[in-house]
């Protein structure tokens, strides 16, 4: 690892965000480095999803700053975040159920035919199907066929496709909001393996999860949000379940965490 690995790849500083009278974030900070899995945990309403939305361009913070590779950035749209190499797997399965897995993988990034027909907007469906089935195979996503609507797949397969979509396109950071929530034991393990694989390729992975054993199993570090602020940071190897739960509920606070 070079010395740049110790610099945060993506850093949020003192973000605030209100929805009407509800303060979702009250000066939340966060950081993740390349090649590590950071678990972002917190009780319901702690602001995890809002923080991820701000960091992936879906929402804009009211105040506070976001730094990417040391530079201050503005993320007005999901597209702006994606241009930086940041991808997100959403909790509520952001897939198009009537489209097939290949179409979902390439949603918003459709390959076009070469030449004049491509300039007219014609899709290269064959190339997309081929690339999609290779990527799914590489990531261990098993599907019976590549052209059934994704809505007819099981919840686990759907989620696997959603995870694969983010991982395939991300080059720097992947956010995963409860990626294993709907999964069975085998599929959960498979997703966790994908997470490790992605981390080993040097990407930063931010995992939001309610499943504490899972967090301790896969994360390198843990950051804890409570009432819209960061209240604790742990190295996963040194943390216990009690530490995490204590930080989430407010029984344990670290002075320097915020």
């Amino acid at each position: 690892m070079s010395e740049t690995a110790n610099e945060p790849l993506l850093e949020a500083s003192e973000l605030t965000k209100s929805y009407g009278s509800v303060e979702a974030l009250r000066g939340a900070s966060f950081e993740v480095r390349a090649g590590e899995v950071v678990a972002l945990i917190g009780d319901n309403g702690a602001g995890k999803s809002t923080l991820v939305k701000c960091l992936s361009g879906v929402e804009q913070q009211d105040s506070g700053e976001i730094f990417f590779e040391g530079e201050r950035v503005r993320m007005d749209t999901p597209t702006a975040a994606r241009k930086l190499g940041i991808e997100t797997v959403y909790q509520d399965l952001a897939v198009a159920p009537e489209l097939d897995p290949a179409a979902n993988l390439f949603l918003g990034r459709e390959l076009r035919l070469p030449g004049f027909l491509g300039r007219l907007g014609m899709l290269d469906k064959r190339a997309m199907r081929k690339r999609a089935s290779q990527e799914f195979a590489r990531l261990g996503v098993t599907l019976q066929s590549i052209d059934v609507p994704i809505g007819s797949l099981s919840g686990g397969q759907r989620q696997s496709v959603a995870v694969a979509r983010s991982v395939v396109w991300a080059s720097k950071v992947v956010f995963m909001d409860e990626p294993t929530a709907a999964l069975g034991v085998v599929q959960r393990e498979r997703v966790l393996n994908v997470i490790r694989k992605v981390r080993d390729q040097g990407m930063a992975v931010v995992l939001i999860s309610h499943n504490m054993p899972e967090v301790l199993a896969v994360a390198d570090r843990v950051e804890v949000l409570r009432l819209g602020k960061r209240v604790a940071r742990f190295t996963a190897a040194d943390a216990t379940l009690e530490d995490l739960v204590g930080a989430m509920t407010g029984a344990l606070t670290q002075e320097d965490a915020a």
Partner: protein, 348 residues
């Protein structure tokens, strides 16, 4: 690489197979509704072998459906996005009205009957512009102002009809250029194919190409399937929805011009149920009112089922009120079928 895509690729990675052609065919709504149409044609041909399967019947059938087909093709895009457009019939009338009024204004004594092609072309441009303007208004109110499509297009249904009526104090304009009527309205090409039908066929083919092979079409499905997923994937949903309604308005403008050429009048009172006929055709053709599913081919079949029923009943001597009942039944059955399929899928 020329090898079959369902085998092992160069990296030794197994790729995932496509469904067999047979499976894809049997699960397609279009296939079944196509069989229904085929069945109807066969039944009427057997019942009236001298009158039904004739060139003349085919010609009149095609001419009578040409205008509706153009409306229904536009409606297909809208319904695939999960929306609806009730205003197409009124927009058609408005487009015909501004077009006819413009052609009159450009002609001596306000009589466009002897107008030449220069005037007719201006009339065409005006009709398309008029339709597109209403389409844009629909799209803007639905995509940008986020008002439900049902309400927006119910509003423009009345507004466009009102505006059309204001232009000529509520009466029809009947001085449509004879040249236009003789060519687009009644003319034929390639040994008997009505020009009106040719125009509709070309528009339908281009629309099918746009919907099924281009990125615009793919995004139309994506917006209807899950607008939030489309937005998060970087698709400009607002812009896309606006364009889809604009396209439908544009096609209603073209249909208005075709109607003008065919009827030789602005036919203010003749299009009150065009919107419902177009919606029924689209839905019968297997396009889902919930969005994300549909095809232009299905719409073509959906347009022809009521037309064949009507023509067939006329020829066989059954009162054509039965056609209305039969179409209603087919429509409800088609939607029921769609819902069953969705439920079966979501149970998994």
């Amino acid at each position: 690489m020329t090898t079959d895509e369902s085998t092992v690729d160069t990296n030794g990675v197994h790729t995932i197979e496509r469904q067999s052609l047979r499976t894809r065919l049997l699960t397609a709504n279009t296939f079944w509704i196509g069989l229904v149409l085929l069945g109807l044609v066969i039944v009427f041909s057997v019942l009236a072998p001298d009158a039904f399967p004739t060139v003349f019947t085919a010609q009149t059938l095609l001419i009578e459906t040409a205008v509706l087909l153009v409306l229904a093709v536009g409606m297909t895009f809208v319904i695939i996005t999960g929306g609806i457009d009730l205003s197409v019939g009124s927009v058609l009338i408005f487009a015909g009205m501004v077009s006819a009024k413009t052609m009159e204004a450009m002609s001596p004594n306000g009589n466009a009957l002897n107008a030449g092609w220069d005037v007719i072309l201006v009339g065409l441009v005006v009709a398309i512009a008029g339709g597109t303007a209403w389409g844009f208004l629909n799209g803007f109110l639905i995509a940008v102002a986020k008002i439900p499509p049902l309400i927006v297009t119910l509003g423009t249904l009345g507004a466009a009809l009102g505006a059309a009526s204001l232009i000529n104090n509520g009466s029809d304009i009947r001085t449509v250029p004879t040249e236009l009527r003789n060519t687009l309205g009644y003319g034929t090409s390639f040994g008997g194919i009505p020009n009106l039908v040719l125009v509709a066929v070309v528009i339908t083919a281009v629309a099918a190409w746009l919907l099924h092979t281009t990125r615009f079409g793919r995004h139309t499905y994506a917006v209807g399937s899950n607008a939030e997923a489309a937005r998060r994937s970087g698709i400009g949903v607002t812009r896309h929805l606006t364009l889809v309604y604009l396209l439908t308005g544009l096609l209603a403008g073209v249909a208005g011009f075709m109607s003008l050429a065919y009827y030789g009048s602005t036919t203010i009172s003749a299009h009150a149920t065009d919107n419902l006929n177009a919606i029924a055709a689209v839905v019968m053709g297997g396009t889902s009112l919930f969005g994300g599913i549909g095809s232009v081919l299905g719409t073509v079949i959906g347009v022809f089922i009521p037309a064949v029923l009507k023509k067939g009943f006329n020829i066989v001597g059954v009162q054509d009120f039965w056609q209305m009942i039969a179409v209603g039944a087919v429509l409800i059955a088609a939607v029921w079928f769609d819902q069953q399929r969705r439920r079966a899928r979501n149970r998994l």
